[in-house]
């Protein structure tokens, strides 16, 4: 018997091993290292020396850029893009589920396709659309309509950079989570709707909140987790659009850019690691939150 077990163990190890190894090296170890490094002073040349909580204290007391721009920007960006993108994915998925298959597939493809154009590929197109002179597409369009008289510096003026970033990110946020929710709506059991109507549901919104959403909770949670991740992952967009790190007057500076600024431009790795830990904490807290809404209660 034990020999059989040992043979089974070997198979498990052989199949699981490769994934476990890359997972550990490129996901687990970096997270642990980020936490450890955040308590040190490390300039990449000398061995890191332990400085306790100094990095965190500087982050919250000395780093004006972080407290005045990066943190508020990140919170604002995440609070707008996350929930809005998520709500939009759900309602688009829900509407798509109400139309026949062929038009649904075509429309879903169009709506999903922007999420395939991550970062670099679309930079070129956003730069031409939002170009700051009067021959930029958006400027020219708005001036034709008479809505603006002067071309607007969409990407370079601190006033507009954030809103441009939000629009661009929302545009590309109908990704895997959106597809999961579409599949979720499509797979809800039709008999339950019938039962619901027999039990006195009479309005569409009641149908959504009492039948559709509870039935597809697992997909809702998956979609929510995906949207938290893609929101924080999108942090790079400000630099891509404005073409500089730091962004003009820090208007589009998000926490991800701050990490790169300290890590790869100033080589203060310990300090950068403490910012990374803050980012991981923010993601973790957001995910806890969505889990508490959509997770199965045991």
């Amino acid at each position: 018997m034990s020999e059989l077990k040992r043979a089974e163990g070997k198979w498990i190890l052989a199949f699981l091993g490769p994934y476990a190894v890359v997972f550990t090296i490129f996901i687990i170890v970096p997270i642990i290292m980020a936490v450890l490094l955040s308590f040190t002073n490390f300039n990449t040349i000398q061995f890191p020396d332990f400085v306790g909580l100094k990095n965190y204290i500087s982050l919250f007391t000395y780093d004006d850029v972080f407290m005045q721009y990066v943190l508020p920007n990140t919170i604002k960006f995440a609070l707008i893009v996350g929930p809005l993108g998520y709500a939009l994915s759900f309602f688009l998925a829900w509407m798509l589920a109400q139309i026949p298959r062929v038009p649904r597939t075509i429309l879903a493809l169009i709506i999903y396709s922007p999420s395939m154009t991550v970062g670099v590929a679309m930079q070129v197109i956003w730069l031409t659309i939002f170009s700051g002179d009067k021959s930029g597409y958006l400027n020219s369009f708005l001036m034709n309509l008479g809505l603006i008289n002067q071309p607007v510096q969409w990407l370079q003026s601190p006033q507009y950079l954030m809103i441009t970033m939000i629009i661009v990110t929302l545009w590309s946020s109908m990704g895997v989570g959106f597809l999961a929710m579409l599949a979720g709506v499509l797979n809800t059991d039709p008999e339950l709707y019938e039962a619901g109507y027999v039990d006195g549901i009479s309005k569409r919104w009641q149908e959504i909140f009492y039948i559709t959403v509870p039935l597809m909770k697992p997909q809702m949670l998956f979609g929510a987790v995906m949207s938290v991740v893609s929101t924080f992952q999108a942090g790079y967009i400000g630099v891509l659009l404005s073409g500089s790190n730091p962004t003009p007057q820090y208007a589009g500076q998000l926490i991800v850019n701050h990490i790169e600024d300290y890590g790869f431009l100033r080589y203060e790795m310990g300090y950068a690691a403490s910012i990374s830990v803050m980012l991981l904490l923010m993601i973790w807290i957001s995910s806890k939150f969505v889990w508490s809404i959509f997770g199965e209660r045991e």
């Binding site: 996901i27 909770k217 697992p218």
Partner: protein, 289 residues
């Protein structure tokens, strides 16, 4: 109030659906605008690119932008086709390796009984939230220590562990009845056989899904080329693309950049069109319970 039917996944058109079309079609048009732009700009001759007022649609389409994209040598003297070749190779290897690594792990986590199984899957589910960009510094240190700087493998290895991929595959394999595997075992099949002849063929939709997700990551990633590779001839096309756009103020650059952008975008689109029904099939099992 009589019951009117659910209208979820209807078979045919009905008047009551008009309101959905009225919202969905304009929205889809709006969302496809930038993609139409990239198509149009890639085929515009210079005088149309800089026409004032700007026009969306191309009048005299030309291949010139693509020609100059491939004919010009880059500043470092590396032909553009080299970057493209690197990207194709990286993407192909990443997709194959991710599928093998992910399905093997998914099989074990779904069908085998062992002590840590539940914990490991929970760790992976937690890792769905993982944002690689947050740990770019430790990752850099690990890669430097492992001597992987300027090694071609650095494009591939960090992307192999894809928590979303494993998650979807495992959920999908859960649907395969245990009795099928038991029967094969009674016939004397070992795990290799079960994995290769039963699990892989039955998991095709989930495999297609990991394939497209890992392709998108590999194809568009600039992380490795930016941070871990100094040797120009080992960098990928997405990286070359990013050098183009950072200097698009140069007049002629815009059309070329759009042509490059189209090359970045098209493969993902084509793959998705061919796999979309499989992807949707996988997504039906994507819920986190």
């Amino acid at each position: 109030m009589a019951f009117q039917g659910t209208k979820i996944n209807p078979q045919r058109f009905h008047r009551s659906q008009i309101k959905f079309y009225a919202i969905l079609i304009p929205l889809a048009l709006f969302m496809s605008l930038p993609i139409i732009f990239i198509f149009m700009n890639a085929f515009k001759p210079p005088n149309e690119l800089f026409a004032f007022p700007p026009r969306i649609f191309v009048r005299n389409p030309t291949w010139d932008n693509f020609k100059s994209l491939f004919n010009t040598l880059t500043q470092s003297g590396i032909p553009v086709s080299r970057y493209l070749f690197n990207s194709l190779l990286i993407s192909l290897l990443t997709v194959i390796a991710t599928i093998l690594v992910g399905t093997a792990a998914g099989y074990v986590l779904s069908k085998k009984q062992f002590r840590l199984k539940k914990l490991l899957f929970e760790i992976n589910t937690l890792a769905l939230m993982f944002v690689p960009i947050a740990v770019m510094i430790p990752r850099y240190i690990i890669i430097a220590r492992a001597g992987l700087v300027d090694n071609f493998l650095v494009h591939i290895l960090p992307n192999l562990a894809m928590p979303v991929g494993l998650f979807l595959v495992k959920q999908f394999i859960d649907q395969i009845p245990d009795s099928l595997i038991e029967a094969a075992k009674l016939d004397g099949a070992n795990d290799w056989f079960i994995y290769g002849k039963i699990i892989l063929p039955l998991t095709k939709p989930a495999i297609a899904t990991i394939a497209i997700l890992s392709f998108q990551t590999a194809w568009s990633s600039v992380e490795a080329s930016n941070f871990y590779i100094n040797q120009e001839s080992l960098k990928n096309f997405a990286y070359y693309m990013s050098t183009l756009t950072s200097s698009t103020s140069a007049v002629a650059g815009q059309g070329v950049a759009a042509a490059a952008g189209l090359i970045m975008f098209l493969p993902s689109l084509v793959i998705f069109i061919f796999t979309q029904s499989k992807v949707m099939n996988t997504m039906a099992h994507s819920g986190i319970k």
